[in-house]
Symmetry: C2
Subunit: 345 residues, 2 copies
């Protein structure tokens, strides 16, 4: 119920995923009088979906605390609950990020050894794709949190990108004598000195993200969120320049038509929908947050990313790594796992 464009793009996105990943099944939480007719338009999707009616839903304007108060009867709460009780393997939502994180923490709980979960974003690079975390869950981060982000991001890169030894970097600036703040410097020191099974590159700067210098970029949620939004804004600025420049001349328009294939490749590469989906890492269960303003293609990307993480047992891999590294400082709550492939969207 949380996408800006309403439940239709969620159902249509699920239909795209169904065709591409025939093993996926869906639990859909929301207003059944809105969802059922949309499903009826896709009989094959309907056959692998179950709608769970809720009277209420979280709006984009709700603060997390408000959402939680009205929460127990919302579609978001129940969708996360389906992961918690093992009915679903992963939850996908295009709704309110703060509410989703707050409800996920309450129901799924933070993984043993992890102080606070992070939001990881896929980032297109000159060499393929990298993962950047945190991009918005934690405004202030100490060195232990940053090191945990490195561990979780590394496990993500191994699982989702299929890399054996992903390269990890800590985002920093390179202009002053005493580079970076204390947290960044201490985290790098730990990653450098401690005997962690992580291939640590060292510090990277903002332009290294797009260059793909490392596979995993570690940063606090404030800086990561600003970097992500700044990159989006820069891509939009360039698209604006390009369309203005092409409209200006007749030959340019002819040229544009001839080069249409190239522009389509460019557009696909720059399409934020193709890398849609922030992943919550560090919880006892998988949560994917789609961009609220996405369409059915973006929703399908988010669901497929979710499917991909489930197929690679991402939660178990992260849990093992965190346990291995922090050596069971806390007791780990076993993660309930569903026997099937249901994705609750």
């Amino acid at each position: 119920m949380g996408a800006d464009a309403g439940p239709k793009i969620v159902v249509d996105g699920a239909e795209i995923t169904r065709v591409r990943c025939p093993d996926v099944r869906f639990l859909m939480f929301g207003d059944s009088s809105a969802v059922e007719p949309l499903l009826a338009a896709h009989p094959e999707l309907q056959a692998v979906s179950e709608v769970r009616h809720t009277d209420n839903f979280v709006s984009m304007e709700d603060k997390p605390a408000q959402a939680i108060r009205k929460g127990r009867d919302t579609s978001m709460w129940h969708a996360i609950g389906a992961v918690q009780n093992g009915e679903a393997d992963v939850v996908v939502s295009a709704g309110n990020t703060g509410a989703l994180m707050a409800m996920a923490k309450i129901q799924l709980k933070t993984m043993a050894g992890v102080d606070r979960p992070a939001i990881a974003a896929l980032w297109p690079t000159e060499r393929g794709e990298s993962v950047v975390l945190d991009v918005g869950a934690n405004v202030d981060c100490d060195e232990r949190q940053l090191v945990t982000f490195a561990i979780m991001g590394e496990a993500f890169a191994r699982a989702v990108f299929g890399l054996k030894r992903p390269l990890v970097g800590v985002l920093n600036i390179g202009t002053e004598e005493l580079k970076g703040n204390e947290a960044v410097k201490s985290a790098a020191q730990i990653l450098q000195d401690a005997d962690l099974p992580i291939k640590f590159y060292g510090f990277v700067e903002g332009d290294d993200i797009g260059a793909g210098t490392v596979d995993v970029v570690v940063t606090d949620g404030f800086t990561g969120n600003v970097a992500l939004k700044t990159a989006e804004g820069t891509a939009r600025l360039i698209a604006h320049y390009l369309s203005t420049a092409i409209r200006r001349s007749f030959f340019a328009r002819i040229g544009y038509v001839l080069a249409a294939g190239a522009f389509n490749v460019l557009r696909t590469k720059m399409d934020p929908r193709s890398v849609n989906g922030g992943v919550f890492l560090g919880l006892n269960g998988l949560v994917v947050k789609s961009h609220g303003g996405t369409d059915e293609l973006g929703m399908a990307s988010a669901i497929e990313l979710a499917h991909n993480m489930v197929s690679h047992d991402l939660v178990e891999k992260i849990e093992q790594d965190v346990q291995h590294i922090y050596g069971g400082e806390e007791t780990s709550a076993p993660l309930p796992r569903a026997a099937n492939d249901e994705v609750s969207a």
Copy 2:
């Protein structure tokens, strides 16, 4: 002496500026045996330039503390000194940023009412140009510093962009309940509530920078530096996509030739050389830091930005604003001003 490509691009850049801004005169600090022959190739430039020989110079590898130790005989030290003693109106350097800031602080001193100077960067936007500060001088910033950045950035936008009432925003993230860190929240509160002669927009996010939502973007030096470098990296990534896409097909190459004019416009717009030059604000004198890796066109942009700031009496305007707002908490050291237009590069 500090540019990666050596003194030639500095002299050639000065020559470009001389043609465009005939009232500028130059003091050039460095190895005269290297600089004089370069000048000899441009007799008209030579006529308005004076070379001051120094045996030593700051290298890119020098830490600021090292640079200051060897400093008193370097070209960088003397070039800043020329602004301090009134021989020059502004200093332009493509050298080591940290050393330049450290030496500028010692010689020019921080302006009364300003805790720490900031580096301001011009940023191309969909609506023209904005100024973003700090982009690297101060890793941690409290609210008073951020408010001072707002005051200095606003004065810069009035002087350099010719705006009567520039719009000021504070860079923040928009995903969590308690947006931003304490410094950002307190700074916004002060800018909102205090009776400052500033048109305050409120918070902006990373994508608002390229959109040109505000004329002045206020941020700490860590976040600002990451944002700037991330934008550069994104522009490079898109250029990479574009050239790959065009090389892939014959029709695309033909189209590219027809649309060459449009691509040239795009290239000019995306050209980092056209907005080359970080400006140090908050000192009793003007310092422009050119990108070390720039060429003569970028150097000319930096010198012209310097010229532009001098013509608009930027230091006096900032000083008046800071004094007006902080009401003479400290005594202000009067700024020595040269009677001529000499630019020491």
